[in-house]
Amino acid sequence: MSILVDDDTRVVVQGITGGEGKFHTEQMIDYGTNVVAGAVPGRGGQTVAGVPVYDTVERAAEAEDADASVIFVPPAFAADAIFEALDAPIDLAVAITEGVPTQDMAAVNAAVSDSETTLVGPNCPGVITPGAGKLGILPGNIFEPGNVGLVSRSGTLTYQVVSNLTDRGLGQSTAVGIGGDPIIGTSFVDAIELFEADPDTDAIVMCGEIGGEDEERAAAFIHDHVDTPVAGFIAGRTAPPGKRMGHAGAIVSGSGTGTAQSKIDALGEAGVPVGDTPAEVAEIVADF
């Protein structure tokens, strides 16, 4: 078991004919993912990496029985691609695209709430269930199958923490990169709720960062609803207020909401130990 992605997940790649789309489709297939179709307007009938391309997601999903989508569409068109996935309908849409305008995501957010689709991202590395499949750009070689569920707002920080876990022999059930934007689909609470219900996830790691209050909400949720042990990490302790630290969502407001300390305190009050370094996070999980 795992969350979101398993051996049976059938994937359509939106934007498969672009450089990123093609490269990562090959990588996903190499990892053993069932990539069954691509969707690119005007490119129906072509084949990329051995995968048939359709003009619309609807056709791709129907013809190849796809239930998930990975989106590598450029920022200006990414919101439309997500709307198309919602309409298909696809159960899981993973938007990798970085740089989607926030106001576009506000419109998407309203539509996602009314749909049956789970959206992950945008601006995220994707979802991987080690040994089963990956939807996105995560490097498969650092992951090992196991029982630690990981949810993170950042790509390379995820890789760092995963390698610390893997080095200690702590494999992963599923790792979910939820993305660094201000408005995203799956939140920490959503992912943690899924991990809590997954019998094969025995421990959860959440890697948060400055900005917003998603970590604080997750802390309250964990306190009230989660029995699985959770370890935390929060990036951005040294970030000055008012400055965007790379991710569009990683900003401490002038009034001091969204600080690392507020998140660390909230997690602490919920009984979630927070590591000072990525290595310490793996140490905490090993001690669970």
């Binding site: 957010n109 660094g180 400055i210 290595a279």
Partner: protein, 381 residues
Amino acid sequence: MRLHEHQAKNVFAGAGVPIPDSALATTTEGVVDAAEEIGFPVAVKAQVHVGGRGKAGGIELVESPEEARAAADRILGMDLKGYTVETVLVEAAVEFVNELYVGITMDRDAGQPVLMVSTEGGVDIEAVAAETPEAIARVHVDPVAGLRPFQARQAVYRAGVPDDVASDVASVLSTLYELFDERDASEIEINPVMVTNDREVVAADAVMNVDDDALFRQAGLAELEAESYTNDLERKAGEYGFDYVRLDGNVGIIGNGAGLVMTTLDLVDYFGGAPANFLDIGGGAKAERVANALDVVFADDNVDSVVFNIFGGITRGDEVAEGINTALEQFEAIPKPVVVRLAGTNAEAGMEILNTDLVEVEATLEDAVERAVDNANEVSQ
């Protein structure tokens, strides 16, 4: 991207929001001339991206040419929280009877824009929000349907704006929402909106932040970007296409991915050092990008040592190592000691390739940061 006050005011005025008479100046003579043209009293206002400009001495009200000259001499060239003031806005001082606050921001947790109105303008609105949140009326707007006219009135009346100016303030708020929506703003604020003796409303300050991710479709605003940089290092990094933030420490940091770079900064602090900057080199790290990143960090006089932290996902460690070697070979002498840590795909091959005459190599993130902190301490002693 944050617009300067005068840039934001131009945008607001273009949409019909009343602003005071004003002119920009970069020299003392320019300030005096502008002040005489506008007529005293005027405010001389530093155009830098610093909160609390007034308290920090960046704004002065003057009533004569002599005072204007003295204020200009003092403010132009002054250091305001790390930023040098190069330009001031000379603006007619508005006599007012009320100061209001109006703002629109994206409520990220609700996923919707929110209108905010308060009769407690002219002060730090974030302090008001923290101490008396009920003093700020908030109305969320459905981003798909857009602002319904009644919502602007609702916010204004809920806030208790005086009846005789309520409709004018609601009209300003509606105009600001149109700008917010059409110009991909992430934040728009007027604090204060001044209500004059004649019951006119005037925008006495202006804040406008534009979503960086939407600049591709905001050509007119994107042109202002170069002007809105406030220091040379930020400008240089922006031109190279890096996400860069300058801090006040002495350990320079280059890494890939926002979360990992932030973590590297935090570890510098954890090991007793002080980070000089955030620099995300992004995906891939070919020689040119590496050289550009080093150019930015080496150009910072505060930097005493550098740590390079790359976790290769799809990026290959051997390619990064070659990039670092090539970039550093261009220097006759390495200006500041560089510690490199590579992890992930082909990291071991990369570590072997790295030229240890040019860089120090560490295997773990923690060791690399600790060594860079030690290097900085040695240099600064």
